[in-house]
Amino acid sequence: MSRIKVKVKEKDLNTIKEICKSFNNEQGELINVLHKTQEHFGYLPAEIQEVVAQELEMSVAKVYGVVTFYSFFTMKPKGKFPISICTGTACYVRGAENVLAEFKRQLNIEVGETTEDGKFSLSCLRCVGACGLAPVVLVGEKTYGRVSPEGVKDILAEYNDK
């Protein structure tokens, strides 16, 4: 009998199983399994966690505990262009808060939310180690340095027709 309460598509189910298997279904590899799974699906909803728990023969609570402990894992899908604002000390000292406020205002969302059209999501991260470029904003994998609140409009405009 399967312990899974929520349905996961057959194809996805197999993908998760394969990922777990590539780590020998070892419980100690849970974090690596979750990294790979999130890489593939973009996020880790409850149903996926249930499959992982079953494959690694551990409780769903333990998997959920790990997913919610680490800020890298997310249970909500991110936008097509995830925007991350560095709020490390160097960026903070050079005005990251104002940049963040401007993003919130322009997109009309809070940190951790995604715009209604699914295009942008907003998050904060702690230090990408590019303190020389502070304040730093990441959109997807692209890095923008020395961002000012006035520059926010231009950054968003780059993704307008994408």
Binding site: E26, Q27, G28, E29, L30, I31, N32, L34, H35, G65, V66, F69, Y70, S71, F72, F73, T87, G88, T89, A90, Y92, V93, R94, N98, A101, E102, R105, L125, R126, C127, V128, G129, A130, C131, G132, A134, P149, E150
Partner: protein, 488 residues
């Protein structure tokens, strides 16, 4: 001409060699130290050399590395582990990233040396997922070292086997604490446990484990090559060698700086760092990240070493050095760090989980002008309780930014509480933008730049700011050419 103050030990090869080519590293005497250890020295010799060098852990606490190795070597087990802590979580610190990206083989070589000396055959590097380039270069370096037989079985034709694997972090500051890090490597939540037992007794999978950070390892090969007596001539009496600092914030030259221990803050900030940006006045320098404190003008001539910084109310930490000028509000800075700690507290022990939250709330009240004199006393009392009763290093040091700013910038706290003013003009709830009618020529520049349309007025007439709509972004003030906009 200024005296050349920087010495490169940990950063010796960074920017000099191609980090993706093992031959470059070998050409710079790479893996010579490992060869020397295995063929000419006993494990005890290696430990003695590291102990004699006086090398102390560069991750923050400054525990003597040689002593750590000795403890791990004396605990017998069928399997031991060498762990490299590359979970550089301090916001504003990027020296470990630079070493891993610029000289990955130095870390691999040092881990193998450590493995040889403590009797471990397995190494693990715990690296944060936020550093994709460092991960890529480490993978290449490990593959290359395996290919030429510098990792794997029978290294240098001896009976010594050693191999290294990578483990990934997932964004949790507390995982820089060694017991948390070990739990995270085991696939668990990264929560700390009480020491003892120390990892050197019972670490990864319950086996003796030596944990050092990247910069500590990066200093090891050169110590073996040049000898302990060369290394311990550099630095101060109790802190030997050099330390890499990540200089950032309001300073002209940002970047990594490697200086001998004992260099003063003034030399680092004003000579190497080139002073404060835009000719502003130096106010404070924050060292040690969220565990450290803010040092002021009066500390500028203190020689930097592990013990002096602690005595001054801060700490070495991993080496972040954030410079602040007169426009930075110290109460806000303390609040910023507490915000960080509250978010990163793992929640296992209540002083850290609840206490830091309460500290944060007090600071928030003060920055909104709602603080009382009792609140200031409460801040201090609670900080001391949290320091004394928290389970791990995170909680034991998290009130440091509060205490050090209370000590060094008490006037600023008073200004917030008594006069409801923020002297630096950073606390937005305590300020309002005004237009001085006499200075305003009605050029409309401010009205056009205002993102929320809070400024109204006819052309060539004095404008007005609607303080209800104003979001206090300061854009108008920057734009005005007539100094007509002021903060009150």
């Amino acid at each position: 001409m200024t005296k050349y103050k920087q010495i490169r030990i940990a950063l010796n090869n960074c920017g000099v060699i191609d980090p993706e080519n093992i031959e470059d590293y070998i050409a710079r005497d790479g893996y010579m130290a490992l060869g020397k250890c295995i063929t000419e020295m006993t494990p005890q010799d290696v430990i003695k050399e590291i102990k004699d060098s006086g090398l102390r852990g560069r991750g923050g606490g400054g525990f003597p590395a040689g002593l750590k190795w000795e403890i791990a070597s004396k605990n017998h087990a069928d399997q031991k582990y060498v762990v490299c802590n590359a979970d550089e979580g301090d916001p504003g610190a990027f020296m470990d990233r630079s070493v891993l990206e610029g000289d990955p083989h130095a870390v691999l070589e040092a881990m193998a040396i450590c493995g040889y000396s403590i009797g471990a055959t397995k190494g693990l590097i715990y690296i944060r997922a936020e550093y994709p380039l460092a991960i890529k270069r480490l993978k290449i370096a490990i593959d290359q070292a395996r290919e030429v037989g510098l990792l794997g079985k029978n290294i240098f034709g001896s009976k010594f086997d050693f191999d290294i694997e990578l483990r990934y972090g997932a964004g949790a500051f507390v995982c820089g604490e060694e017991t948390s890090l070990i739990h995270s490597m085991e696939g668990l939540r990264g929560e700390p446990t009480i020491k003892p037992p120390f990892p050197a007794e019972k670490g990864y999978l319950g086996k003796p484990t030596n944990v050092n950070n990247v910069e500590t390892y990066a200093s090891v090969p050169i110590i073996i090559r040049k000898g302990a007596s060369w290394f311990n001539k550099i630095g101060t009496e109790k802190s030997k060698g050099t330390k890499v600092f990540a200089l950032a914030g309001k300073v002209n030259n940002v970047g990594l700086v490697e200086v001998p221990m004992g260099t003063t803050l003034r030399e680092v900030i004003f000579e190497i760092g080139g002073g404060i940006q835009n000719g502003k006045k130096f106010k404070a320098v924050q060292t040690g990240g969220p565990s450290g404190g803010c040092l002021t003008e009066k500390h500028l001539d203190t020689p930097i070493d592990f013990d002096n910084l602690v005595a001054a109310g801060s700490m070495m930490g991993s080496g972040g050095m954030i410079v602040m000028d007169e426009d930075n509000c110290m109460v806000s800075v303390a609040k910023f760090y507490l915000d960080f700690t509250v978010e990163e507290s793992c929640g296992k022990c209540s002083p850290c989980r609840i206490g830091n939250k309460r500290l944060f709330e007090l600071l928030e009240r003060i920055t909104k002008g709602q603080g009382t004199m009792d609140d200031l006393q409460r801040l201090r009392n609670m900080s001391n309780v949290i320091k004394d009763t928290s389970l791990c290093g995170l909680g034991q040091t998290s009130p440091n930014p509060v205490l050090s700013t209370l000590d060094n910038f008490y006037d600023e706290y008073l200004a917030h509480v008594k006069d409801h003013k923020c002297p630096a003009g950073e606390c937005k709830d305590l300020m309002k933008y005004f237009i001085i009618a006499e200075n305003c020529v009605g050029c409309t520049a401010c009205a056009r730049v205002c993102p929320v349309g809070a400024i109204t007025g006819e052309k060539k007439e004095a404008h007005l700011i609607n303080s209800e709509t104003c979001i206090k972004c300061g854009a108008c003030m920057e734009r005005c050419k007539f100094d007509a906009i002021i903060i009150k």
